[in-house]
Symmetry: C2
Subunit: 214 residues, 2 copies
């Protein structure tokens, strides 16, 4: 599968490398086609890794992953181009974090809206699935925790898109819980804050949620 990953941060690099490990082809997109972090990442990953602009990565990918800073989502999705997003599964890993009052952050968008809903509005023809937003990047691929595997909570409006992401999450070593349509991003982004708060309070970041089922 060809995957376009938007973003050169820890999440983009982690997911990109994991997809390479699983045998997929990955183009990492950035504002500039010659982004140094993207080039360095691709050089470390071999022949199935490449770099490009957001638009080039969007055109390349059969599956797309949004892993830039949440605040950049409008600019990134505009740069990606609606024609390159249309009809594709777009995994939204971002959170609308507000650090203006320090750490821990709060949610800049909450209540009757969410970052995930904004992403779906920004890319109305994409099939947005919220995932990977409630755990840190070191645990995203093959998490090895006592009592695991952990559960990835996902949501989105398109059942087939969620089924595809569910299968991918299985390859990544996760159980999956479908929490409904994209409006449930409101709660998944709150779950991110619960994840962050444990880190902020205890100084420990190696944790993840699991849904215990009778």
């Amino acid at each position: 599968m060809r995957v376009g990953v938007f973003g050169t941060g820890d999440v983009g690099k982690t997911l990109g490398s994991a997809l390479i490990t699983l045998g997929h082809e990955v183009m990492m997109g950035a504002r500039e086609a010659q982004n140094p972090k993207a080039l360095e990442w691709a050089a470390s990953q071999g022949a199935r890794a490449s770099v490009g602009t957001f638009a080039e990565a969007a055109a390349f990918g059969e599956l797309l992953i949004l892993s830039t800073l949440g605040a950049a989502n409008p600019a990134v999705l505009t740069a990606a181009g609606a024609e390159n997003l249309a009809g594709k599964v777009l995994i939204d890993t971002t959170n609308p974090l507000d650090f203006s009052r320090g750490f821990p952050p709060t949610l800049a968008v909450a209540g009757q809206d969410s970052g995930g809903e904004q992403v779906q509005r920004l890319a109305p023809e994409a099939r947005v699935v919220k995932a990977f937003n409630s755990v840190g990047s070191p645990l995203m691929f093959r998490p090895n925790l006592p009592g695991g595997p952990p559960t990835m909570f996902i949501c989105g409006n398109d059942a087939a898109a969620k089924a595809q992401v569910t299968a991918l999450l299985g390859d990544f070593g996760w159980e999956v819980e479908d929490s409904g349509d994209i409006r449930s991003s409101r709660y998944l982004e709150g779950l991110c804050l619960l994840w962050v708060l444990r880190g902020a309070i205890h100084g420990q970041w190696g944790h993840a949620f699991k849904l215990l089922r009778a």
Copy 2:
């Protein structure tokens, strides 16, 4: 310990009965001192169970539990009386659920506020701890789930109050995760919705969250 439980619904009865089982004395408070559901519950529980008004239950309890409908919180806490709440640990089990658009509900209070913060404002001299709000009543006491025990996420402004609730939750069979001050109710109430959504989507209600820790 003497415990005042506000509310005669499933949560109030479940927590009241659990506390009786653990050897505590419980007064179930309702609007009317002779509430039939409270009387029936007390009759089933023996000598350590009693009934009273909200004010009588508040005066009786060293520990107080708010388990009425979230929409009733202002009326219940006013009826309980500020002088009966002052200085006491008040466990807020409620959620500000809005069923006006059908099922599943949404959060009537969200974004930069939460039900838990409202409760703390309504009872400013009580030491509010949010707990028991993200799981259904059948699992609140001695939950027996594969992979358990589950984790109760709690929050509140008073560390000693949270320590007391943490100990009680241990007696109930739960692990505990302190998610910070009462503002974290925003995320704990979102967690309630994730709990509800699994039930709404899958028709299964025997689930609970666990935090896996490295």
